[in-house]
């Protein structure tokens, strides 16, 4: 079966996110008040073949360990749906 997978990768809590800080500062300059904890991450989307949704999610988890995320500095969450 064919699945769409979406992986959201964000900087781990406690890891300095320079990009997030810069975005937060600029939002403040634009007049948005009370905004904090801005973090900038990335989304990796893909289509993959797997026996079922669990197998697809497991495969993407392996990809995260192997390449997509660096678990020292990043966390990730995976969502899978039928294509």
């Amino acid at each position: 079966m064919l699945f769409h997978a979406e992986t959201l990768i964000t900087p781990r809590a406690g890891v300095l996110d320079t990009q997030g800080k810069a975005v937060e500062k600029t939002l403040g300059q634009l007049g948005y008040e009370g905004v904090s904890e801005v973090r900038v991450g990335r989304i990796v989307t893909m289509t993959l073949e797997a026996a079922n949704a669990e197998a697809a999610a497991e495969c993407v988890r392996e990809m995260c360990c192997d390449l997509l995320a660096n678990d020292l500095i990043e966390t990730y969450s995976i969502s899978v749906r039928e294509a």
């Binding site: 300095l16 390449l67 020292l72 500095i73």
Partner: protein, 236 residues
């Protein structure tokens, strides 16, 4: 001493380091494309050069760390031979986990290209044994992701084991530490080695401070000579 420089798509300091090593040490330097699976020359020193391998896609060094040549690089290092990563090469070494930590975006949010000064913190490794502990050297930096990061406990362990080889410093006072790091590196760390001392990664570029008329200074010459001297004294 035979040297090999790995060339990734996007490497841009490969020829600088080739020239710095071959001119200083008058020894051969093999250039190896990242798609190779072995080295032709059985090198004594492998260098992962600076640049923007794979355009820094995903994370700096992430794609290069999964290149076909990396298994040969790993075998080379595991046999106890010298492996050096400069700038993007250091980022590749952390991505392969051959060295601990990660290099995050500079606190300034900008790319920083300038001269900087480092204190030689350790000489009990296969690279800086010929330098003087506590000496201040000038190698330029040129990077956007140079903030050395390691979780607190691991950082303390790294310090305790004496694996911080270079630290950003003030040339006037000789002081070193985080406040002198142009990129915000934790504890002002510019370069570290593995426990065995045969793998070194550093963000600054000794090869840009070797050919003196390039105006990057000439402190890099002593770095290459130190490696060659250590090799001559200890062998592989």
């Amino acid at each position: 001493m035979k040297t090999a420089v790995v060339v990734f798509p996007g490497s841009n300091c490969d020829r600088d380091v080739q020239r710095a090593v071959s001119e200083t040490l008058k020894s051969p330097v093999e250039m190896v494309w990242h798609e190779e699976r072995s080295f032709a020359s059985e090198p004594d020193l492998v260098i992962l050069p600076g640049g923007f391998s794979y355009g820094d896609y995903l994370r700096s060094g992430a794609m290069a760390a999964r290149s076909p040549i990396i298994e040969a690089v790993r075998r080379h290092a595991e046999s106890g031979k010298r492996l050096l990563g400069i700038c993007n090469g250091f980022q590749v070494l952390t991505e392969t986990r051959l060295l601990p930590g990660a290099l995050l975006a500079n606190t300034s949010t900008t790319f920083i290209c300038r001269k900087c000064w480092l204190r030689v913190e350790q000489t009990n490794n296969r690279f800086t044994s010929g330098l003087k502990k506590g000496a201040i050297v000038q190698y330029p930096i040129a990077h956007h992701e140079g903030l050395f990061f390691l979780p607190k406990d691991d950082l303390a362990e790294l310090e305790k084991e004496g694996r911080v080889v270079f630290r950003y410093a003030d040339p006037a006072s000789g002081e070193a530490g985080e406040k002198f790091a142009p990129n915000g590196a934790l504890n002002g760390i510019a370069g570290i080695c593995n426990k065995e001392g045969n793998i070194l990664g550093l963000m600054p570029h000794p090869e840009r401070a070797t050919v003196s008329h390039l105006n990057g200074g000439s402190d890099g010459g002593a770095f290459w000579l130190s490696i060659a001297q250590d090799f001559a004294e200890r062998g592989a």
